[in-house]
Amino acid sequence: MLGDLKTIPLDWYILLSSILFCIGVMGVLFRRNAIIIFMSIELMLNAVNLLLVAFSAYHNDAKGQVFVFFTMAVAAAEIAVGLAILVVVYRNTKSTDIDVLNRLKG
C-alpha cells in the first residue's frame, strides 16, 4: 500500500497539496458566505494532511500519519466551535453572509 504511494514522485504530491492549499486560501479571502469559508479552511487543512501522509510514506516514518490524526481531531473540534459561533451570529443577524459583520471598525 505504502509502496503504491511511492510510484508517484514526491514533487507531484507537493504540487497537488500546494494547489489545494492555495484554493483554500483563495476561498477564505474571496468568498462571502461563512459556510463556504469554513469549507475552504477544511480544504487547507486537508491539503496539509495529504502532504503529511505523502512525506510520511517517503520517509518510512509513522510520525507524520499520527500527526494527521491530531490534525483531524483538532479540526473537528475547531469546526464544532466555529459552527456554534455561527449559529449565535445567525440568531442575531439572520444571515450567514460575513458582510453583515461590519459593526467593528476604525
Binding site: 477564505v28 503529511l52 510520525k63 466551535v81 459561533i85 460575513i98
Partner: protein
C-alpha cells in the same frame, strides 16, 4: 508537568461545580489551585524534566509558566465580578483554565506536535470566550472573526510544520535544528520557516497579520480582551521565540529580513492607528499590536539577552495592561461609555483610579521610573548588540508617537474640567488588583533584576 495536571484538574472541577452546586466555593478554590500550581511549577526550577521528547520543562518553560500563572491569578481577581453576573460562570472559568493548559504547553513544547496542540487548546477556548456575550452582536462578530482568522492561521502553521517535516523527517526540535542546518539552501525549508512565521505572526498580531486584532479586542467582553492581550500574547511570544531560537537560529538569513520588515510595519501601523482612536478599548487594542512589534525586536535580534528581554517585556506589559483594562472596565460600567471622554476630570473624585491609570499609561508609554521603560530599554539593548541600530531608531520614533496617545488619556483624567464629582465605586477585588499591579509596575521599574535574574 505538575502545572499541567493541576490546571487540567482545576478545569474539570470547575465544570463539576455547576452539577454539585458549589459555585460559591469555586472562586477561592481556583485562586488556591493557581497558587498551588505556581508553587509546584517554581519547585521545578533548575530541575529540567523531559517527557517522551514531547515536552521539555526547562527553566525557560518554568519561568514563563510562572509568569502566566501570576497574570492568570490577577486576571481571575479582576474578572470575578463580571462573570458572576452571568449564569454560566463555571463554564467560563473552566474554559479559561483549559486555555491556560494550552498556554503552558506552548511555553514548554519540544516537539512541533505539542506546539500545534498547545496553540489549538489555547485558541479554541478563547474563540468561545470572545463570543461569550451571546446576545451582543459585537461580541458575536468578535468571536467569529477571531475564529476565522485563527483557523486560517492554523492552516499556515500546519503547512509550515509539514514542509519542515518533509525536509527533516522529524517533529522534534533538536533534530530539526541539525537537519535544517544541513539542508539550509532547500526551497522547502525557506517556505516552511516563512509559513510557520506567518502562522505565529497571526497569533501574536504582527502586521500585516494584525488586522483582526483591533476588531476582536474591541468586540469581546473587556475581561476576555484583557486575557487575550496578556496571557495569550505572552504565550504566543514565548512559543515564537522558543521555536525560532531552538530550530532556526542557525539559518537566520532566511527569516530575519522578513521579520525585520514585519516589525517596522507593526510599529508604524500600531502606533499611528492608535493615535486617531476615540475609544480607549480600541486604543489599547492598537497599543497591544504596537507592543507586539517591540517584543518582536528581541526575536529579530536573537542573542543571549533576548530571552530575559522578552520575559521582562511580556510580563511587565501584561501587568500594566491588566491595570489599564481593569480601570477601563470599572469606568465604562459606571459611565456606559468606553471613550476617552468618559475619563475626563475623574482625578478629583477618584484619586486611586486616576493614579493607577497614570502609572499604567506611563508604563505602556515607556517612561521611567515605571517598568515599561526598562522593558523597552532591554529590548533595544538586544537590538544594538545585534547591530540593528536602524531598527532601534525606528522603534524610538514609534515610542514617541506612543507617548502622544497615552498622554491623551492622562490629560483627560487630570486637566479636563470635571464632569461629575461622584466617586466611582470600586469593589474590594478590583481595588486589590489595582494596588498590586501599580506596586509591581513601580517595583519592577526600580529593580528590574527581580525578573531578569531568573533566566
Amino acid at each position: 508537568m505538575n502545572t499541567l495536571i493541576i490546571l487540567s484538574a482545576l478545569g474539570i472541577i470547575a465544570l463539576f461545580a455547576e452539577i454539585f452546586r458549589f459555585r460559591k466555593a469555586l472562586f477561592p478554590l481556583i485562586l488556591l489551585g493557581l497558587g498551588g500550581a505556581f508553587f509546584f511549577t517554581a519547585k521545578e526550577y533548575n530541575h529540567p524534566q523531559i517527557f517522551l521528547g514531547m515536552m521539555n520543562f526547562d527553566n525557560y518553560a518554568v519561568i514563563f509558566s510562572c509568569a502566566i500563572l501570576i497574570i492568570a491569578f490577577l486576571w481571575f481577581m479582576m474578572a470575578k465580578n463580571y462573570f458572576l453576573q452571568e449564569t454560566s460562570v463555571t463554564d467560563h472559568f473552566a474554559l479559561i483554565l483549559f486555555s491556560l493548559v494550552g498556554a503552558v504547553v506552548m511555553v514548554s513544547f519540544s516537539n512541533l506536535t505539542m506546539l500545534f496542540l498547545g496553540i489549538e487548546i489555547l485558541s479554541v477556548s478563547v474563540y468561545v470566550l470572545a463570543a461569550s456575550d451571546k446576545s451582543n452582536v459585537m461580541s458575536n462578530e468578535s468571536g467569529f472573526k477571531y475564529f476565522l482568522m485563527g483557523s486560517f492561521a492554523t492552516g499556515f502553521l500546519l503547512f509550515g510544520i509539514t514542509l519542515i517535516y518533509g525536509i527533516t523527517g522529524s517533529f522534534d526540535l533538536a533534530s530539526i535544528h541539525t537537519q535544517v542546518a544541513a539542508n539550509h539552501d532547500s526551497g522547502l525549508v525557506i517556505a516552511g520557516i516563512l509559513l510557520l512565521m506567518i502562522g505565529l505572526a497571526f497569533k501574536s498580531s504582527l502586521a500585516p497579520f494584525h488586522f483582526w486584532a483591533p476588531d476582536v479586542y474591541e468586540g469581546a467582553p473587556t475581561t476576555v480582551t484583557t486575557y487575550m492581550a496578556t496571557v495569550v500574547k505572552t504565550a504566543a511570544f514565548a512559543a515564537f521565540f522558543r521555536l525560532f531560537s531552538t530550530c532556526f537560529a542557525g539559518v537566520t538569513g532566511h527569516w530575519t529580513d522578513v521579520l525585520w520588515w514585519m516589525v517596522v510595519l507593526t510599529l508604524f501601523v500600531g502606533n499611528v492607528s492608535a493615535v486617531r482612536q476615540k475609544s480607549v478599548k480600541r486604543l489599547l487594542a492598537y497599543s497591544s499590536v504596537a507592543h507586539a512589534g517591540y517584543i518582536a525586536i528581541a526575536v529579530v535580534s536573537m542573542g543571549a539577552a533576548s530571552t530575559s528581554a522578552i520575559l521582562y517585556y511580556t510580563f511587565t506589559y501584561s501587568i500594566s495592561s491588566i491595570s489599564a483594562f481593569t480601570i477601563l472596565f470599572i469606568v465604562s460600567r459606571h459611565k456606559g461609555s468606553k471613550d476617552i471622554s468618559a475619563f475626563e476630570g475623574m482625578s478629583k473624585a477618584n484619586p486611586l483610579l486616576s493614579f493607577a491609570m497614570t502609572v499604567a499609561m506611563l508604563s505602556l508609554a515607556g517612561i521611567p521610573p515605571t517598568a515599561g521603560f526598562f522593558a523597552k530599554y532591554y529590548v533595544f539593548l538586544t537590538a544594538i548588540n545585534a547591530g540593528n541600530t536602524l531598527l532601534v531608531l525606528i522603534a524610538v520614533i514609534a515610542a514617541l508617537v506612543g507617548i502622544y496617545y497615552y498622554f491623551r488619556v492622562i490629560i483627560a483624567i487630570y486637566f479636563k474640567p470635571e464632569q461629575q464629582l461622584v466617586p466611582i465605586k470600586v469593589g474590594p477585588l478590583h481595588r486589590t488588583v489595582l494596588i498590586i499591579t501599580t506596586i509591581l509596575t513601580l517595583l519592577f521599574g526600580l529593580f528590574p533584576n527581580l525578573i531578569l535574574g531568573w533566566i
